[in-house]
């Protein structure tokens, strides 16, 4: 969270934190680990009633009508989710809803969107295809034109909330560029295989498309010309993962600091040892830097700044490197209890390790940044 929130942003933060603390404290998150989908549908509808799925949706479509500022609110939500390693398909649902509101067809805006906003249905985004690269440029899945519409074939994995999702936003290649399609998960030819995962409640699935036929009306945005929409979704995903990891690492640092005050060895609190104090100083600096870079990326997205793509990659790269290291160091500060199942710290480490990988590891984003520095003179590469 940035340090000068508007009154509305502060209210949103307070109500979000209250809801998460009351509904899904970390003890509940642990129970949800046994749940097949990792979240409870009725909980999701209560969360959606707070407007969580519609932060990027225009007022005319029944959304929050925050305009581009919705990205800031979504960032606040992501950070709070990080603080409590919260469950739920919040971020992919919100991103898909935002895209439908921005460039969906009338039918999609009238039918799919209201159900997403109310939490009655869940949507997710199918981007990655099982390789190491997450950049939209790596999408190879083909969408072919047929007499009846479009045929999708290929594999999308890992797909967040892929098992519970009712609607899939599929990014594929057609007509010389990227296109996106909104596909019901129960369409013939769609096979969803749930995956085991590192995060206890954030679930992923492998989604296979075997000659899935969809009508022209499934198209979201322009055929072969969706690169800008996809890049925007990707920027949001990167910035939100960064904000969530910043929130998670910040929370772990808080409770580890408390531990350092309460825990005594050789008759002194851990907090009195300079060797440890200096490590806390480093962690505090990295933690503030994680918040700074995530906030800057979200602000740039909200402002429509042409630098948003670069700043989102910078944030994802920095938080991907540092949020897990902060938590690993906090494990070290805890000693043996830090590597037990009983202690909550591993839930946080699982979340930030997942975020580090999903939507691209730091090295992938550094390569994209190097391309901007070296290969494109003064331009903003996608």
């Amino acid at each position: 969270m940035h340090f000068d929130p508007s009154e509305e942003q502060q209210l949103f933060l307070d109500s979000t934190r209250r809801f998460l603390e009351a509904e899904t404290p970390v003890s509940t998150v642990r129970q949800l680990a046994e749940h097949a989908g990792g979240f409870d549908r009725s909980w999701w509808q209560r969360a959606a009633a707070l407007g969580w799925a519609s932060l990027l949706v225009a007022e005319a479509d029944g959304g929050a009508g925050l305009g581009d500022e919705g990205a800031i609110y979504l960032g606040i939500l992501a950070e709070e989710m990080g603080r409590l390693v919260s469950p739920g398909p919040v971020l992919p649902s919100a991103i898909v809803a935002g895209t439908l509101s921005r460039c969906g067809r009338t039918g999609q805006r009238h039918e799919a969107l209201p159900a997403l906003i109310s939490g009655e249905r869940v949507a997710t985004w199918c981007l990655a295809e099982g390789g190491r690269r997450w950049s939209p440029g790596a999408v190879a899945m083909k969408a072919e034109r047929t007499p009846r519409g479009i045929r999708l074939s290929g594999l999308k994995t890992p797909v967040e909330a892929g098992d519970g999702a009712d609607l899939l936003l599929v990014t594929a290649r057609s007509d010389g560029g990227l296109s996106q399609f909104l596909v019901p998960a129960d369409s013939p030819g769609v096979t969803v295989e749930p995956l085991e995962g590192l995060d206890l409640v954030r679930r992923f699935a492998e989604v296979r498309f075997d000659d899935v036929e969809v009508p022209e009306s499934a198209l979201v945005g322009r055929c072969g010309d969706a690169a800008a929409d996809v890049e925007r979704q990707f920027q949001l995903a990167m910035a939100l993962a960064s904000a969530e990891s910043a929130g998670a690492a910040g929370r772990v640092l808080e409770f580890t600091l408390e531990w350092a005050f309460d825990r005594f060895s050789f008759g002194r609190p851990l907090a009195s040892y300079q060797a440890l104090k200096h490590r806390f100083a480093d962690m505090k600096t990295w933690s503030e830097a994680c918040h700074a870079t995530a906030s800057a990326a979200l602000a740039a997205i909200a402002a429509g700044d042409p630098a948003a793509g670069r700043l989102a990659r910078i944030a994802k790269s920095y938080t991907g490197d540092h949020a897990p290291e902060i938590i690993q160091d906090c494990v070290q500060m805890h000693g043996g209890i830090g590597v037990t199942w009983e202690h909550d710290i591993h839930l946080y480490l699982r979340r930030v390790a997942t975020n580090r990988t999903m939507y691209g590891e730091p090295a992938e984003h550094r390569e994209a940044i190097a391309a901007m520095l070296l290969d494109v003179a003064g331009g903003e590469a996608a």
Binding site: H2, L257, S272, F280, A281, K284, T285, E288, I369, A371
Partner: protein
């Protein structure tokens, strides 16, 4: 008079700069700290005077002290606009970012009227006489003494690590004035004229071969009573303000710096150029390193924005500048290492006429200076853990003891 809008100011500055300031040679670094000569200092004074005459000096300083009374946003705009021009960057640190703000906070009205306009006009370059040969981090353990002779204070002792004292005019100097008081309560801050009988300035050659730092020796140097800053024996209060401004300066959040070194802090253009010359633009590791430097540099300025905002709103204590100082120190170290690796063999063996990559070798040798000057990163870590996180303070054997009874260095070995 209402304040000119930032955009109007920017347009006016752009036009004035183009008409008045000399352009930097293309590709030339804005600032080469390796070789600053007395001629360079004279040049900086001349350029500073030009800015002053044009009404573009001391932008964030009050008008009554020779400044322009503008906001940090105006200063940022000016710094962006002046990038292509040769600027008197020598005045930024410590004169404008550390010493002048300290005088503004703690100096007498007469001191402010005497010295601030002179600095802003380019007439006075200042240095800090703070660290001593006996120790740098334990600043309040100063042994240099000032004794009242009935008419003047008499300064004796030695200071060290002052940059460019040999061509500077004045120094702000912390000295012990009461040996019976406990450590922090027997210090006074003085204004000292550098070039006068009794002051000997010795230049120090650094590990990178450059000569920037100096050591000074004081032999009964007279200081008039009006040159005491703040109260006698309350010099530590002044020193704390000075350290606050120093953290802002080295951390990159000072509103009083005008212009930047460009190739040193604000971009990785020099590293990109280095990689191009070395034919490494397609090399995976080199690309990763370039991007890493760029990421860290961007995050550094994002962190500056966040911490400055946090201190303004009270979300962070005023000591939070230590976060910036720690980040900038560790980043500078990493950047120096990346530069050294990108430069490869050219940074360790070069032909006399092809010495451009050699600065990355020398920079690597001098690397740790970024974590030492302006308060060591260890001191910043103490400040962050104790003042921001509230962790227990380090035990100190000199607390509550008259300073004359505090144990001091037993030998002065230097390898």
């Amino acid at each position: 008079m209402s304040t000119e809008s930032v955009e109007d100011f920017r347009a006016r500055a752009r036009e004035w700069l183009a008409a008045n300031m000399p352009r930097r040679a293309p590709g030339a670094p804005a600032w080469n700290a390796m070789d600053v000569s007395e001629e360079d200092a004279a040049r900086a004074r001349e350029l500073q005077r030009k800015l002053y005459d044009g009404g573009f000096a001391g932008l964030c300083y009050p008008r009554e002290y020779g400044g322009q009374g503008l906001t940090p946003a105006h200063q940022r705009a000016f710094t962006e606009e002046c990038r292509p021009y040769e600027m008197p960057l020598l005045f930024n640190t410590p004169t404008f970012t550390i010493i002048a703000p300290t005088l503004l906070d703690m100096g007498s009205e007469a001191q402010k009227r005497r010295h601030l306009p002179a600095m802003i006009r380019g007439d006075e370059l200042w240095v800090q006489f703070m660290s001593e040969p006996s120790g740098g981090s334990d600043l309040a353990g100063a042994l240099t003494s000032a004794k009242w002779d009935g008419e003047n204070w008499r300064l004796n002792g030695s200071k060290i690590w002052s940059s460019y004292a040999y061509f500077s005019d004045y120094a702000i100097c912390l000295a012990r004035t009461d040996w019976d008081a406990v450590k922090h309560q027997g210090l006074t801050m003085f204004i000292v004229k550098i070039h006068q009988p009794g002051v000997t300035v010795k230049r120090i050659r650094q590990s990178d071969g450059a000569i920037e730092f100096c050591q000074e020796f004081f032999d009964d140097v007279p200081i008039p009573p009006e040159n005491v800053i703040g109260q006698v024996n309350d010099g530590w209060t002044v020193a704390q303000r000075l350290l606050h401004h120093e953290r802002s300066s080295t951390g990159g959040s000072s509103p009083y710096a005008s212009g930047t070194a460009g190739t040193r802090k604000e971009s990785v253009d020099d590293l990109v150029e280095l990689a191009r010359r070395a034919g490494l633009t397609g090399d995976w590791k080199a690309r990763q390193q370039l991007a890493e430097a760029y990421v860290l540099q961007t995050v550094q300025s994002q962190l500056v924005d966040r911490v400055v905002k946090g201190m303004e709103t009270g979300a962070l204590p005023t000591t939070a500048g230590a976060l910036l100082r720690l980040f900038s120190g560790t980043f500078a170290v990493r950047r120096a290492t990346i530069g050294f690796e990108l430069a490869g063999p050219d940074a360790v063996a070069w032909k006399a006429e092809e010495e451009s990559a050699s600065r990355y070798g020398r920079g690597y040798v001098f690397r740790q200076a970024s974590c030492l000057g302006g308060g060591s990163t260890e001191m910043q870590r103490n400040i962050i853990s104790e003042r921001i996180l509230g962790m227990p303070r380090e035990p100190a054997a000199d607390r509550g003891v008259p300073f004359k009874d505090v144990r001091r260095n037993t030998g002065m070995s230097r390898r």
